[in-house]
């Protein structure tokens, strides 16, 4: 939905009910359009932010600076470039579950081991990564003044991962510009070269220095996305959007750093039945090499007397049997002089993938299995608050804090020691972010 910015960014919600009021506003609108036609802005709109993300219990911490630059290079022709740096440290779950026994694991390169104490959630504390992501888009009119197209491209690089993507979104206005239909197509080609190579599915993690069960150095996957959207002006105060998304991924989708505990089916403890003592009781996961996803997304933006409500709902389902519901709610509470406070609530709940499991029994054979908690049954709750204030005519400073709680449920039948262990520990995280936008 292409909506022109008002001349005054802090326009008040004056109710133009009288004929003279409407005429005044119509005149202003015409003048404003004329003014914008005459000039493409020489300035760049710069948005920047620094986010700090920190999980409890020494898990992942991230520092993420982001900067975006947007410019109208010609009438209704807008370019946008965005750069993100993502620096991560800390410990991440390796897929195995807590046990009453001391557990020893080998790091991905296969030359060092680490030990997890009884009752502790097994975490690989060698996690360290830096990601650089660059994306750009170019929006331009096409066919006539009711249609436009946005071309997008993105590249992202980590030490073991590379992603290249391109997209095109065609939008056309109908119904006196009260309805906009969108059609979007995106393709991505990703490649992974994990530390130590690609693990052989269901092969044992080997003791440090005894070799690694690997079947190659790298692999790849491709993603095709299609989206159809309708944006509808409902009233002078309400805007609504509906999107339907279809996505297909094919290729390597295992997490090469995740294992599954192989248990003694009577005791629930990591098995000691493997004949080779260098075969640790953990095997590498294996997921299907295709995934088909569908999403339905609804968003409504509603203007109250001064404040604005922005609420959305997403239904997601895929052929791995993961389905989820997401509700997101922002309330922009206007303060004086253009400043605002914005509480945020997000609730997310998902079902487990059909092959998600906490463990495998010794001797059990399955086609697919993963103990990655992100494919399990989980609920995420987020509470946040943002404060923003103008700093002069065209700049704004903001600060926000968010608290995230993620709670997981156990699935399947647990036995023996598993019944007294925390197999699905909660995760708490906080976000702190400062932002500054200006015209340059």
């Amino acid at each position: 939905m292409q909506l022109k910015k008002p001349a005054n960014k802090q326009a008040k919600s004056t109710n133009f009910t009288s004929i003279s009021g409407k005429l005044t506003l119509a005149t202003c609108t015409l003048l404003q359009v004329t003014g914008q036609t005459a000039q493409a802005s020489d300035d760049w709109d710069i948005q920047s932010a620094l986010m700090i993300y920190s999980e409890s219990d020494g898990r992942v911490s991230a520092i993420e600076p982001i900067v975006s630059a947007k410019k109208e290079i010609a009438e209704d022709e807008i370019v946008n470039v965005k750069l993100v740096l993502d620096s991560l440290t800390g410990a991440t779950p390796n897929g195995a579950h807590a046990s009453s026994a001391v557990q020893t694991f080998t790091n991905p390169s296969g030359n060092k081991s680490y030990t997890v104490q009884p009752g502790d959630n097994p975490l690989d504390d060698t996690f360290l990564d830096t990601r650089v992501a660059l994306s750009g888009s170019w929006e331009m009119p096409i066919l006539d003044n009711r249609s436009r197209i946005i071309y997008g491209a993105n590249v992202s690089k980590e030490f073991d991962y590379m992603s290249l993507g391109a997209s095109a979104t065609f939008m056309r206005d109908y119904n006196n510009r009260n309805t906009t239909l969108s059609y979007a197509l995106g393709v991505n080609a990703d490649s992974i070269d994990p530390s130590g190579g690609i693990p052989t599915p269901f092969a044992n993690m080997r003791a440090a220095g005894s070799g690694t069960n690997r079947e190659g150095s790298g692999d790849s996957k491709s993603i095709t996305d299609f989206m159809f959207g309708v944006t509808q002006v409902i009233s002078r105060k309400t805007l609504m959007q509906f999107n339907l998304g279809f996505s297909n991924t094919s290729g390597y989708m295992n997490d090469p750093y995740k294992v599954i505990t192989v248990i003694d089916p009577l005791t629930g403890l990591p098995t000691s039945s493997f004949t080779d003592p260098d075969d640790l009781p953990y095997v590498y996961e294996n997921r299907p090499d295709s995934r088909s996803r569908q999403t339905f997304y609804w968003k409504t933006v509603h203007h109250l007397t001064e404040d604005v409500i922005n609420v959305s709902y997403r239904y997601y389902t895929d052929d791995w049997d993961v389905s989820s519901h997401t509700v997101d709610f922002h309330y922009r509470y206007e303060l004086s002089d253009g400043a605002y406070l914005q509480p945020h609530i997000r609730y997310y709940t998902q079902s487990a993938a059909e092959f998600y499991t906490h463990s495998l029994d010794f001797g059990e054979t399955v086609e697919y299995a993963s103990a990655d908690y992100r494919l399990g049954e989980l609920t995420t709750t987020t509470l946040g608050l943002k404060y923003a204030m103008p700093m002069g005519d065209n700049s704004e400073f903001s600060v926000r804090a968010e608290m995230i709680n993620q709670s997981s449920n156990t699935v399947g039948t647990l036995v023996g020691d598993q019944l007294v262990q925390e197999l699905a520990p909660d995760l708490d995280a906080v976000i702190f972010q400062v932002g500054y936008s200006f015209r340059w």
């Binding site: 004056t14 993507g165 991505n188 996803r293 203007h303 997401t326 995420t380």
Partner: protein, 71 residues
Amino acid sequence: MKAIITMLMLTLLLPACSLSPIQPWERDLLAKPSMALVPDEMDNALDEHIYFSKEGSLGGQGVGGGGCGCN
């Protein structure tokens, strides 16, 4: 899939609803930056990436975007 087909039908029917069109001179509120579908692009991009790396779902708002080894 049934749910998605039902929602597709609803989506296609929406523009056919007999809403009285909003005229250009009635767009004062809709034109405010706070009424944009995504008023906080930075926040949205950062949040989307966090939830993509911590949950099993993704998408809804658009197509493509940066892939990541985090999930």
